[in-house]
Amino acid sequence: MMVVNSWKRVALWCFVIFALILIIAPFIWIIGISLKYQIAIITGQFPFDVTWVNYERVLFGKSSDFLLNMFNSLVVAVISTTLVLIIATLAAYSLAWRTMSGLFKMGFLAWTLIFNIIPPITLVGPWYVIFSDLGLYNTLTALVMTHIVINLPMAIWLMMTAFGTIPRDLESAAIMDGCRRTTAFRLVLLPLVKPGMIAAGLLAFVFSWSEFGIALNLTAKETMTIPVAIASYAGQYEINHGEMAAAAVLSSLPAILLMFLGQKFIVRGLTAGSVK
């Protein structure tokens, strides 16, 4: 560690704290707006009378389906995350450890990469056509499928990194001891890649919960997810700013929860691969 004199350290901290305030301030402000009456918002009243009316209207209002939207989002996020984890962990095991035909492996990984860089909206058109053909338009099934696809590359890459850190001898030792390959996978390897699975799972959940571009075009009223519902608030002719703010805050709650509970895993997941 280098020696930094105290003045420099104070300046450093001021800079960092300033940056932190810039990051948090919009969120604090929006919480404030969500607790105000419409009239107090427009007049910029401060200090203001706290009200929960915006939250009540968003959650339980007659014209609001927010609870249904929340349920849809939760169902899609939980199912797609579970499936992504299973599929990606298996695939990563196969890709990271088994010596397959090099061409297949390279082609597969290259495809995940290419698929990851193209804007998802470009594939939403064909998805819409395909799911309409299958009669799956406006179903949660279609949304779950697409969310699996968009999260799969990220999960596979993270899980490959996770498998890369385990010594291979562990598996051969287990098999030598009479374990089946599948049993060895389940009992010996899975516990070791758990941190990777948590990281991939948390990210997949957050991405699915926040995903907007696909849900916007594959869902309608009954299957609408939270982000689509929020966008429809903003699109209304007469915008109720307080409710818009309350909806934004509510939609961010899972993210904030994860931020405190799973930050280590999330930071690892977000920065993995870039360091190497």
Partner: protein
């Protein structure tokens, strides 16, 4: 007798036996099937769609060949060109400013002995909350009646601005939101890179009496170069996809001043219901981003090869 019992293995057991001996293929099969069904097949569908015009009649899709028509339409499509230019401006501006701020902040935080944990946690906030919520938040912040940004400017005697409503400031305002949204990710990636730098080198240079600027120039930046390149590439690719926030903030307006590629492709697909022409635009978009990546990769190889 023994042979007999083996043959009579229950089928479930036999299935396990099969999975066990072919686990390497079985394990990757689900992923391959998913990709074939939901990416390769749609990609083929996209190519087919781009050469046709698709209409709905009694909830049934009707396709007619219209490749020539679509191409003629594309050559005439000034909105697409405008959207491309806007996207490029957006990507370049936001990515380079995010790199600058993110690297600066990472360098500063890397000097802190304590408190890194809380900085990291806080920085996750914009990354994790839904982009749509970020769009709503900033739309309210930019509001000309009660938005906090105008209230702040008023303190300095600057009159209220229509940030999102004026053609001269709309694109810049959207860039500002993106900088707020993604600088933290660049920061996290680069901080992880800085923390992974070999400590001996840093210590040795301190002992040799190198000033901080010298260290930055001759040690940190050269060693960080790969991480910086990766972060830049990653950020520019994600910035190219931008859709959610702009949809919420301006929907491409006023006029076409914040029209970006993803938004325009969406509009052609689903607002103008031109699935065929939209597919052509989508293919061209994919071509553009792939060639960007190829050029970047070649340039990087040449650059590092020459060193």
């Amino acid at each position: 007798m023994k042979n007999f019992t083996v043959k009579k293995l229950p089928s479930l057991e036999r299935l396990w036996e099969f999975i066990d001996s072919h686990f390497i293929f079985v394990a990757i099969l689900p992923a391959v099937i998913i990709f074939l069904l939901f990416t390769i097949y749609p990609a083929i569908e996209l190519v087919l769609m781009s050469g046709s015009s698709i209409t709905f009649e009694n909830a049934e899709l009707i396709r007619e060949p219209a490749l020539e028509k679509n191409i003629v339409k594309f050559l005439d499509d000034w909105i697409f060109r405008k959207a491309l230019v806007n996207t490029l401006i957006f990507v370049l501006l936001s990515t380079s400013i995010e790199m600058l701020f993110g690297f600066g902040l990472a360098l500063a935080v890397n000097e802190l002995v304590r408190g890194r944990g809380i900085v990291r946690t806080t920085m996750l906030l914009p990354i994790l909350i839904p982009p749509v919520a970020i769009g709503s938040i900033w739309r309210l912040m930019y509001n000309s009646e009660f938005g906090v940004i105008n209230a702040f400017l008023e303190l300095f005697g600057i009159p209220a601005q229509q940030f999102l409503g004026s053609t001269s400031t709309a694109l810049l305002s959207v860039v500002v939101v993106d900088i707020w949204h993604w600088t933290p990710l660049v920061f996290l990636i680069l901080l992880a890179g800085l923390e992974a730098l070999p400590e001996e080198v840093m210590e040795a240079s301190s002992i040799d009496g190198a000033t901080y600027n010298q260290k930055l120039r001759f040690i940190i930046i050269p060693l960080m170069w790969p991480a910086l390149i990766v972060a830049f590439m990653f950020r520019s690719i994600v910035a190219f996809k931008v859709f959610d926030q702009i949809f919420l903030l301006t929907s491409g307006g006023p006029g076409t001043s914040t029209e970006v590629i993803s938004l325009y492709v969406y509009k052609v697909f689903f607002q103008q219901n031109q699935l065929g022409y939209g597919a052509l635009l989508a293919l061209i978009t994919i071509g553009i981003i792939c060639s960007y990546l190829a050029v970047f990769a070649i340039a990087q190889r040449k650059f590092t090869g020459a060193k």
